[in-house]
Each structure stands twice: as structure tokens, then as C-alpha cells.
Symmetry: C2
Subunit: 353 residues, 2 copies
């Protein structure tokens, strides 16, 4: 794919690496590509980061026809730039696109677009331990028309944000509120797409959980309010009696790339792992029997987020005395080690720029 590059005439001041936060600062450039019906994806370009001219009737603003991705670029100790499984994110774009009636992208072209943009803004990749460059590709329906139907024109955009270390003072397991009222997604809905609707549906539950002192919610299935789905914006794993279990991909949860990597890593390490339906009752029963050994979320932002406590309809249980478990720590160390280039990548996950 031919990508035209227009460099900014006014580079921004880079933020202090010790106070990056998440998704607050953006780099000097962005990638844009247009889709027009009959013409396909065209006009791939890297341009200075800045506001886009969006028609007030752009369909994404009205009917939510939009999807996104999230991945990271890492700078190694010797200055190399690494990407973690970017092809998986771009493949997932097409899964999301199919559910949202958005025209598919060319996976290789879009991985190339990520690489070119990261190269142009390589200067922005932070190097302090735990920091990285968050990459946010997204597609939105840009056609200026009102009427509920798939749009005829779209934009594919990639923006970059230098982000801070998720855990600044060691990993602190989080408290999770098991959500019995609100539903994120249901069978026959958009749960397995990385699309705006699922995040909009999560806001109110998240706000109410925070007000009660919880970090995230654990979503249950929308039909029976019985099966465990995801935790906040992460996939969820449990270690019960020596076996690691995680909800199967039945269409209502996001097929996470950190989830996939965790499963592959555990299998290679000989840890029993299974993807299946898990009821919240089973988790509580395992705890009562002294067999709930660990619980953790997986996602791009934190990689591994250990869970120290659950609250379900007023019943509170502690996991592993509120401390990070051995498997959680090992998965965290291995994946972040491979991502930062400190550990050898025996999986073929890393792409060097």
C-alpha cells in the first residue's frame, strides 16, 4: 500500500515520561484512509495529528457504526521498537466489521499502516520501565446522512498515545463488583465486536461500582445472569484447584488478544487451562471449598490485573488473601518480558520495526 506522508510543521512538546497517564497525550501524526462505496479503501496518508472535519450528520455520531482496536509499541533497552501481535488486532477489525456491516480492511495493509505511523512518531515512544506507545486504530461511518442503514463511506484512522506504567508501585489486586443489574451485551448482540455500543453499555454500571468502592464490574450473561463473561474491559481468568479456566468465546465476550496469548502461554508451560462456561456460583463454591486459588483480568492496558476480592449481591469473598497469585505473576512477567524485549519470544508474537 502506498502511504503519503505529510510531516507536521509544528511538533508538540513531549510530555514528562513519569506522568504520562493513559490516552491523554497524542503524538504529532495520525494515519487516515477513506472508504467510498465502489472505490474501496483509498488515499492512505499520514498527516499531522489534529481535529478532523466531521459532518454533523456523519452516521457514526447517530447510529454508532464504529469499531476500534488497541495495541502497543514498546521500546527495548537497546532502542529497538517492538509490536505485539499486530496482525491479530487487524484480523479482529474484520470480525468487528462483519458484525457492524462495515467493509473489511486488508490486514497486511493495515499492519503496514501501523508500522509506518509508529516509525514517523518513533521519537514519541517512551523508554521508562513499563511505559509504551498505545496504538488506537478505529473506523467510523463518515457518510453525511440520517437513516438507519450501513453507511456508504468510512474513515480508518490510527492515533498514538504515549502511556505510563500501569503499575507504578507494584501490582495491587483490584476489588470487583459482580454486576447483577446492568448487562454489557447479550447473545445475538454485539458482545464479541470491539465496537462503541459495548462500551456505552458499560458506563453506568462502572460509575455505580466506583461509587461503592469497586474498581471494575464483573459482567454476567444477559439471559440467566448466571455465567461469568468479562471483567470491566478485560477478559477474566480463574485458577481453581490447579486448573486455569476462562469463559469460552460464545459470542457475547471480546476475543481478547492478551486472553489468547495467556492461554497459549499456559498451555506451553504445561498448566491445565480450559475455556468453558463458568457460573458465578461455581466461583463462590470453589472459594468456600478453599479451591479458588487466583483470579485475574487480561487486557492490553494492564496485561494482567489480579483480582483480590469479589462482591456478588452483598457476599464478599477474598481471593488469595488479596495478593497476586503465582500463575498471574508468571503470566504477567512472561508477556511483559516478551513485549519489552527482555525475554526471548519463543512464540513468534513480536514484530520488530
Amino acid at each position: 500500500m502506498n502511504i503519503s506522508i505529510t510531516k507536521t510543521a509544528a511538533p508538540k512538546q513531549k510530555p514528562d515520561q513519569s506522568h504520562l497517564g493513559f490516552g491523554i497525550h497524542f503524538t504529532d501524526h495520525m494515519f487516515i484512509m477513506d472508504y467510498t462505496e465502489g472505490k474501496g479503501w483509498h488515499d492512505a496518508r499520514i498527516v499531522p495529528y489534529g481535529p478532523m472535519a466531521v459532518d454533523p450528520s456523519a452516521m457514526a455520531l447517530h447510529y454508532g457504526q464504529a469499531i476500534f482496536e488497541g495495541l502497543k509499541a514498546y521500546r527495548t533497552a537497546n532502542g529497538e521498537i517492538l509490536l505485539f501481535r499486530p496482525e491479530k488486532n487487524m484480523q479482529r477489525v474484520n470480525n468487528s466489521n462483519r458484525l457492524l456491516c462495515i467493509p473489511e480492511i486488508n490486514v497486511d495493509d493495515c499492519v503496514q499502516a501501523i508500522k509506518e505511523l509508529v516509525k514517523v512518531d518513533a521519537y514519541w515512544i517512551p523508554s521508562a520501565p513499563g511505559t509504551s506507545l498505545y496504538i488506537r486504530p478505529f473506523i467510523f461511518a463518515s457518510e453525511p446522512a440520517l437513516g438507519v442503514r450501513p453507511a456508504h463511506s468510512y474513515q480508518f484512522v490510527i492515533i498514538l498515545s504515549p502511556v505510563g506504567a500501569y503499575y507504578k508501585e507494584g501490582i495491587n489486586p483490584v476489588k470487583i463488583y459482580v454486576e447483577s443489574n446492568y448487562v454489557r451485551a447479550v447473545r445475538g448482540g454485539l458482545g464479541e465486536a470491539k465496537t462503541v455500543a459495548n462500551y456505552a453499555a458499560s458506563l453506568k454500571a462502572q460509575v455505580e461500582a466506583k461509587e461503592q468502592g469497586y474498581t471494575q464490574v464483573l459482567w454476567l450473561d444477559g439471559v440467566e445472569k448466571k455465567y461469568v463473561e468479562e471483567v470491566g474491559t478485560m477478559n477474566v481468568f480463574f485458577k481453581i484447584n490447579g486448573e486455569v479456566v476462562t469463559p469460552a468465546l460464545t459470542g457475547t465476550i471480546l476475543p481478547g488478544i492478551t486472553r489468547m496469548s495467556t492461554i497459549e502461554l499456559l498451555k506451553k508451560a504445561g498448566v491445565p487451562v480450559s475455556e468453558r462456561k463458568i457460573t458465578i456460583q461455581e466461583i463462590y463454591d470453589a472459594h468456600a471449598a478453599g479451591k479458588l486459588e487466583e483470579a485475574f483480568g487480561t487486557g492490553t492496558a494492564a496485561v494482567i490485573s489480579p483480582i483480590g476480592e469479589f462482591s456478588w449481591n452483598g457476599n464478599v469473598i477474598k481471593v488469595n488473601d488479596g495478593k497476586i497469585g503465582e500463575v498471574s505473576q508468571r503470566v504477567y512477567d512472561t508477556i511483559t518480558g516478551i513485549q519489552s524485549g527482555e525475554l526471548e519470544d519463543t512464540f513468534g508474537w513480536i514484530q520488530k520495526l
Copy 2:
């Protein structure tokens, strides 16, 4: 509320009134108001219609924190401009806002904003029979930040589109596909909000129904796939053995303003009407017993859309021989008569500009 007005220097060519379509043409101006945390809603202004400068990280494009409304202005035979229950739409904005964690608006201020904007673009209101000026207020999270949480800044925008007669050659009842696979919204979700997520979730079912020759889908509840919810983007009514029934507002369907008006109108006319749970099986049983007399959708675009046929898991039934029913016709004639100023408004629904 003080609204500043900046008129366009380059008015557009008005489209031919006989080929307006829906949501294709937009007028010369739009209303914009900003929300900033700590400052509230501010800077109400009418400005020339045109692209907005939207940051690529604007939260609405990523997390779907956005809601909208739809209503119409009508030009009467003697040149007056009428609005139909605009306060109900602005009250519904706040219902939607609460579910989406968007700060509430002032209902009176926003009705005023609609009126001011319609006055500025009054020249655009078409006068041919059945035509009107569609009014689209919407709010979107404009804060430039990535991170799943309610935004700290928003824009409230109103745009206007002259729209054609929905029924050009008499009312033709539509064929409806009863959706047993995809789900629009579920208990605990966003179904009763007029928000982008619900429309995104409807696209694929709609495309597949069209491919099979159906105009719209009839949504069933997401839990049991048993109860009738909405039809396409409209509320749905049935006349069974002399009684008009419509699904109760249990949180998963849109509280339609045409729905509300239809119920009020039927009650005043002495037609038995009830809001309750209705199974799709009940509709089919009523048909088999010769008691399904009419079926119709209600919404702002078509007002009344009679249903001539249902297909549920391959079982096809015809309603009233595929013709519009007497009650459907009467509701249509009364509401459109009041909207156009041809019938006296005995309900207090109309606001004159």
C-alpha cells in the same frame, strides 16, 4: 437562554420538493452548545451548517457516549409553522442522558433552541403535502481522551433536514421479519435510551431481513425470544378482537412519542387500548383464531406504518388481507391532520412558532 446567531454568507440551493427523500439534504444553519465540566452547558449559538472540528480521540467515536432525538416541523396551508410535542423529545433527551451518564440539559432552553433554529431556517420548510422539516438534536462526548469513563465535555447539536412525503402513492402495508437470532437490546441494557448503541445493534438483522424481501424486523426480547418489543425503529401495535395492545415500557424498548400520542388518541376515542407483555405466539394464535385485526408501527418518520405480513421461523401470516386497517388509518389521519394543522388540536400537542 441567550443564543448568538451567525448567518451563512453562502446560502445553499434548496432541493426540489418532489425528491427530498429522508435525511439527505441539510439546511443552512445548525445549533451548537458546549458542555464543560464545572461550567455546565454554555455558548449556545446558531452557526452556518458545516463540518465540525472533532478530535480523533473524541470519546463518542470510541465509546459511543452519544444520544439523539428526532421530531418534525410542519408548514400549514396558511403558512404557519407547527412543532409536535417538542418538550416530550427534550424530556426524553434527559432519560437517555441519565442512562448514558451524560449531564442533563434544560428542557425549556433546548425547546427554545429548536424554535430559534427552525425560525432561522424557516425558508427551508417544505410545503408540499406530506413533506416536513426533520429536526435532529444530538449530544456526543467530545472530550479528546481514551479511557472508558463518562466524558467531561460534550456538544449538543441540532441539524435540520427537509424530508419528503413518506407515502407518495398511498400507504402500503409492509412485510415484517420476526427476528429470532439477533437482539437489539436486553433487560439491563440501553434499550429505552435513544442512543447510538441500539441502532448499531440493529444493522445486521436489518440487512439480512432486506435480503429476504422484508422491510423491517420485529424484535423479540433478548432473554426468552418470546415477547414482542419493537418493529425496526418503531414501536408496534396490534388490534386483537377489538382491543389495541402494545408492549409495555419495561426498559428494553424506546418510549416513543408517536406511541404515547397513539395511546392518548385511542383512549380519547373510546377504543380499548392496553400496554402489556405480548408474546409472538399470542399474535400467531390470534391470527389463527381470526382475531388479529390490525398491526402497525408508530414513529416520527412514517407516523403510522401498517403491517401486512409477518414471517416467524418460516411461518408467514397475513394481517387484514395485507391492507391498512380502520384503526391504523384513523390514527394516521388524526395525527398527521393535527401535525399539518388541518385538524383541530384538542390535545394541546402543537406548539406554533
